[in-house]
């Protein structure tokens, strides 16, 4: 896990973000326990309250559940919700691209053309290896 001290993004959000990505990608599986709060604080060299806040955020999002005295375990991920989460990510990224395209004064055709070209590139790379 990489934490940046001066990125402007609070440390607890950086932790939550990276654990969230691991959960959604299935790297952390259903029922699996997250590292202990104080253990993670020690390993990441940050305060206990920061890791605690990250875990509480994930709990509020319904990704993990706190088990009294045992820590936090990963919830079953609803496939619909998972898809929703990924969809939201796609939308956000595309919106960003649209805004950048506006600044560059690209036309709709140019923008769609770029998207298609990129899709082809990815496809050929996937079949390439």
């Amino acid at each position: 896990m990489k934490l940046l001290q001066n990125s402007g993004i609070p440390i607890y959000q950086q932790i939550a973000e990276q654990l969230r990505a691991d959960i959604l990608a299935g790297k952390l599986k259903e029922g699996e326990y997250l590292p202990s709060i104080r253990g993670l604080a020690r390993d990441l060299r940050i305060s206990v309250i920061t890791t605690m806040k990250a875990y509480e955020q994930l709990e509020a999002e319904g990704l993990v559940t706190a088990a009294q005295g045992k820590g936090f375990y990963v919830n079953a991920q609803d496939s619909e919700m998972l898809k929703e989460q990924h969809l939201r990510k796609v939308e956000e990224a595309l919106l960003e691209a649209i805004r950048a395209a506006e600044i560059a004064r690209m036309t709709e055709e140019e923008l769609l053309g770029t998207l298609q070209a990129l899709l082809h590139m990815e496809e050929s790379r996937d079949t390439g290896d």
Binding site: P10, S36, R38, R42, V48, I49
Partner: protein
């Protein structure tokens, strides 16, 4: 995070009067399982408070209980508390070996092997003919830390542990505090005073700011970082912003200050940028707002 929380130390109605100074703490809870920093100006009463909590000072009014169990300070409680302070409680002519020998006689939970490995880890040279009085301030602090950490305790009370240490050792101190907390699995706590807030920020869970013998601010650091906000703006707005901000510093190019997050909308219409403050910025702002000094 706050429900079902136990306190490592609970202070009720504490009063201690000196000539021209009074320490008055109606209520203070040091949460269990966390590292709590005690911050304040010189002469704010930090050492007096810590001395009362460790039992070095017993002439005070009020109640102090430990470990959420209404436990008073007695021999059994003191066995669970480790302390390091600005002075030195080892006799001046003791050698490192004698510190070990006497500590193991004094405390039933003292582990000689742990003390030796801590000495090694901290670079305290044993065997060399070295009286405690000949140690530098930094090495004396390291020796006290080794002696305190070699014991089985539930609470560490550290009075200015970082001050005499070099930057590398401060880093090590933070690691040792985190490790201490981790091994306790939520049952161990640390309460330390410090002026080196920036160095200790990444190990501070709860902060208590003391001014003129009064607690002027306290809370979990993550909550304080939401309560206060750091504001930067253009010089033209400096005057007006100064009335809203908690503490502000101005120059020809702009101003910078800390304000309560709830007052942020009163800055509407000004060209300002905001960011999350560090614990050091919050502490300095709160201290500035409460200090008797004209800065």
């Amino acid at each position: 995070m706050k429900e079902g929380r136990r306190n490592a130390i609970q202070v009720c109605g504490l009063k201690k009067k000196y000539r021209g100074f009074e320490l008055s703490v109606p209520r203070l809870d040091v949460p269990e399982g966390f590292a709590t920093a005690l911050i304040g100006e010189n002469g704010a009463g930090k050492t007096t408070l810590l001395n009362i909590l460790t039992g070095i000072r017993r002439d005070f009014k009020g109640d102090v209980t430990y470990f959420g169990e209404e436990r008073k300070l007695n021999a059994q409680t003191q066995e669970c508390i480790g302390y390091t302070g600005p002075g030195c409680y080892f006799l001046p002519n003791w050698t490192v070996d004698q510190v070990e020998e006497i500590s193991s006689l004094l405390f039933s939970g003292f582990h000689n092997d742990r003390f030796r490995s801590l000495c090694k880890e901290l670079g305290i040279k044993r065997g060399l003919v070295r009286d405690v009085k000949k140690l530098s301030d930094g090495n004396r602090m390291k020796l006290m830390l080794a002696a305190a950490l070699a014991r089985d305790t539930q609470l560490l009370i550290l009075d200015e542990p970082a001050s005499p240490l070099d930057p590398l050792m401060r880093d090590k101190l933070c690691d040792m505090i985190r490790e201490y907390l981790e091994r306790g699995n939520g049952k161990r706590s640390v309460f330390f005073s410090t002026h080196n807030i920036a160095d200790m920020e990444n190990v501070t869970d709860y902060a208590v700011i003391l001014e003129h013998g009064n607690v002027v601010e306290e809370g979990f650091v993550e909550d304080l970082k939401e309560k206060y906000i750091c504001v930067k703006g253009e010089a033209a707005d400096g005057e007006r912003a100064g009335e809203i901000l908690f503490s502000v510093s101005k120059n020809a190019y702009g101003f910078e200050g800390i304000c309560l997050a709830e007052n942020l909308d009163r800055l509407a219409g000004m060209d300002v940028a905001v960011e999350t403050p560090t614990l050091s910025q919050i502490s300095v702002a709160v201290m500035k707002a409460n200090t008797g000094l004209k800065l």
